[in-house]
Amino acid sequence: MNHNVPAGSGYELPTRAKKNGFRSFASTLKKHKILYLLMLPGILYYLIFRYAPMYGLIIAFQDYSLGRGIFGSKFVGLKHFIEFFYYTPNAWQLIRNTVMINVYELLFQFPAPILLAVLFNELKNVLFKRFVQSISYLPHFLSTVIIAGIVVNFLSPSTGIINHLLSQWFGMKPIMFLGEAEWFRTIYVGSGVWQSIGWGTILYLAAIAGIDPTLYEAAKIDGANRFQQARHITFIGMVPVMIILLILNLGSFMEVGFQKILLLYNPLTYETADVIQTFVYRRGVLSADFSFATAVGLFQSVFGFILIVIANRLARKYSETSLW
């Protein structure tokens, strides 16, 4: 590459910084002044809205109050963590629900697009394929409120279409779907699959498009049928994407789509629906119990962070794909 450009433009190759400490630091800054200035708003954004809250995690170990602030509040060590694990009656239920909803998502929402991508790939008519894809992407763009609104109104025991159809076709009595704890996970994951199955195929289809076509030719010559080709070539070609998405999934394992839960749950379904983040929201935002809620949130973040590091390490050990 050619870096033959005038001095002072901010484009010349850096002369390897000598160990002149501050002087060389200042001269680097000056040389690329405009470039650093451009980054300044972004850097400030990260410091204020991403790193200041991380520093603010200190209040998990304090009895924080708005009046006394972060520097004036008393340090109380692990008090809030102990309170959560030993004295919060539904702590176990929160952890169990968070884990269970994720397991369900991993079992149903994760494989669904993989299967669909293989089926898309087998479609012969390009126009029809494109049409189905377009239709299947659409729900991805609907807001959580809209999805939850459709779910709530369709499932309503008095006016909802689902209960009407159940009674018209099978003579069933109306079911209070959103008032019964045993239905919650099905509704949550079912609407999640509906919304994400089409969109989720995009990365897999990209991976399939990258597969060397000669592999299929060779397989055909060796007498492999279409199912065998799909299994041994198409599926294997998607594995790297699967691993990446799986790691990302595990990393956000504890961060369930709590906004949708917030819209769909109510005290009747807390038993299966209440997760750590909805609890943090109620205790932190609604009851202004800042320190306790932060402690609970911190427990979840640390757990998620550990999971993603472990998942990445495993991926690096057993396959050639990993996040970093």
């Binding site: 991380m54 089926l119 189905v132």
Partner: protein
């Protein structure tokens, strides 16, 4: 080709097409039903007579909604928040991504690491809330626009794009006497239109659809965006603890469906663009990021 195909293979093709038709039906049915219900009479909808097509067609639900001043206020608020955030996000993200794409810039790695780490770990809900509170942004538009200004994922997508632009063009411009800033505005940005449109659309749709930030940062009814109004009208009876359900909760079912359509309509209009650019964007981000 067709002659060589086995019966099993042909059978599979037929099943596959049938499956796809089922998929289309499953994807479209809720939306078609919502529309049909919104233009049917309330009695027909609540008694279950509307299954697919509208019955006793009437626009009464829409007329009633259009008379509600809250709808217009919240619609305007959503447009305002979306436009302002999209513009600011594009400015801040491109300004940060451009220098980060210069592989020879000292300190680049450190800043990338700083941004990347926030994808793995963050301060969480309450500390972020307290920072926004401390800055006096509660109950202002800025609480909605600024805390989600830069998305690290988009930042990396843009950086990847900028890094792939031919450096020779920029060098030529500098030899012709352009400053770094002029290079960015006159050469890099026009060349980057596809990525700008992609990130712009990503941001706009996210903001259009978001409700949670408004829920925690706003408690002035005049500032509520559309999604908050939707929540309190459409989902009123599901979420019993709704702190913001002071809107009229005795709304007819048809009005709930009509409101759903009113909120989806803009998304449907831009959907053809969305699809094209989003697929592109997801690929850049997913494959190279």
């Amino acid at each position: 080709m067709k002659g060589e195909m086995s019966i099993g293979s042909r059978l599979f093709d037929i099943c596959n097409v049938l499956l796809m038709l089922v998929l289309i039906a499953l994807m479209m049915y809720p939306l078609v039903y919502v529309f049909s219900a919104s233009i049917s009479s309330n009695a027909a909808v609540s008694s279950g007579q509307v299954v697919l097509w509208p019955k006793s067609i009437t626009w009464a639900a829409y007329e009633k909604l259009f008379k509600n001043p809250n709808l217009w206020i919240s619609y305007w608020n959503t447009i305002r928040y979306t436009v302002v955030q999209t513009v600011l996000t594009l400015l801040a993200t491109s300004a940060m991504a451009y220098p980060l794409a210069k592989h020879w810039l000292p300190g680049r790695r450190l800043i990338l690491l700083m941004a990347g780490f926030t994808m793995l770990f963050n301060g969480g809900l309450i500390p972020t809330f307290l920072v926004v509170n401390q800055l006096g942004m509660i109950n202002t538009m800025w609480a909605i626009v600024i805390p989600t200004l830069i998305n690290t994922w988009y930042l990396f997508i843009m950086r990847t794009f900028f890094a792939a632009l031919p450096e020779e063009v920029e060098e030529a411009a500098i030899i012709d006497g352009c400053s770094s800033f002029q290079v960015l505005t006159r050469i890099v940005l026009p060349l980057s239109l596809p990525v700008m449109v992609t990130i712009g659309l990503f941001t706009a749709v996210n903001q259009w659809n978001s409700f949670f930030d408004a829920l925690i940062y706003l408690n002035d009814r005049q500032l509520y965006p559309l999604q908050i109004m939707l929540r309190s009208i459409i989902i009123a009876d599901a979420s019993l603890e709704g702190a913001q359900s002071e809107f009229d909760t005795t709304v007819l079912v048809t009005q709930k469906y009509a409101l759903t359509i009113i909120a989806i309509l803009p998304i449907l209009f831009v959907y053809p663009f969305l699809q094209k650019y989003f697929v592109q964007g997801t690929m850049i981000g997913g494959v190279k990021g």
